[in-house]
Amino acid sequence: MQNPYEVLGVPSSATAAEIQSAYRKLAKKLHPDLNPGDKAAEEKFKEVAAAYDLLGDADKRKRFDAGEIDASGAERPPRQSYYRDYAGAQADHSYADASGYADFMDGDDIFADLLRRSQKARTNRRGEDMHYRLEISFADSIAGATRRITLPDGGTLDVKIPPGLVSGQTIRLKGKGAPGFGTGGPGDALIEVDVLHDPRFTREGDDITIELPVSLSEAVLGGRVRVPTATGAVTMAVPKGSNTGTTLRLKGKGAPKRGGGSGDQLVKLKVVLPGKPDPDLEAFVSGWEKGKSFNPREEG
């Protein structure tokens, strides 16, 4: 090691204050953390620091001046790292600060764009929420289901659809959005669910309405018929003397309610005559006297 007086640029007669002042001047110039881009600064600063370790300590300086110790005795173990080694390399520490160039990010030029992108990757930031759409059948909207969606990046997401969901409802999957940066944590996945229209069913609140065609004989004589529901067909009794517009209620066959239980399925009957004219029916009706005097367009 060089003569510490030379390193600090002071005469050997310098006062303690002069030594300190010389050191501070050099340290400001050479401290690696005050010169993050200067790779050579570290070596130079080490020498200066070692020289000051020796001369800045009155006792050590006396012994050095007396020749009791030499300059190398004051050399410090090599320092492992400086702040710049961390602040420069890590993108996601809590001291990151973009305010030195934030104004450059406002433009719409390529430079601003690049900066914005690099900025995004740097600060502690919660990941973005990702929005997806999912189409499900009417039956799934009532019974609930699990659907797997494929994400743009090739990954998949299992979406649990709660029973009774209505079209336009959004399911939030916590933490399944874009990854966050630093300590930000990931965003959520927001899945907006579209319920596909089913021509058979109409949902009103928790009740589901269905129009069920019945034959003339089922309407007049009553009978048991199969009725589709959102959760599968069931058998229902059509009472004797039913008519078009007669509404029957299937308890608990509607959509699940929030607080538990379910709505009902309302079955509106619609009497349908055979598609083809039937000579037997014609013969029967022409012999049915009361049928001739019944006018459904007259009240009472």
Partner: protein
């Protein structure tokens, strides 16, 4: 590798009171977790730097405030520059 407060005090050689003041001044920003403060290597390096600014370079409190603020901005700019260089396809040295 996160450190607890005790581990950090040991690693940095700081006194408890000094650490509390530096955190209060936001010179150090350890992560706050339910089980207490968590420190990282960067906090140790930063604490060492603050100590040097104070004792050896002779910066006072206001000076350290300013230095740290500007230094963090400088590092931010250096990272942005490095990022730009990468984005522009310059080979990394």
């Amino acid at each position: 590798m996160a450190m607890t407060r005790e581990e950090f005090l040991k690693s940095s050689g700081l006194k408890v009171k000094v650490l509390d003041v530096w955190i209060e001044q936001e010179w150090l920003l350890p992560e706050r977790t339910p089980s207490g403060l968590r420190f990282r290597e960067i906090d140790v390096a930063r604490a060492r730097l603050i100590g040097e600014l104070q004792s050896r370079i002779g910066a006072n409190e206001a000076g350290i405030d300013v230095i740290l603020h500007l230094m963090d901005q400088l590092h931010g700019m250096r990272r942005a520059l490095a990022e730009l260089r990468r984005e522009m396809g310059e080979p990394k040295r």
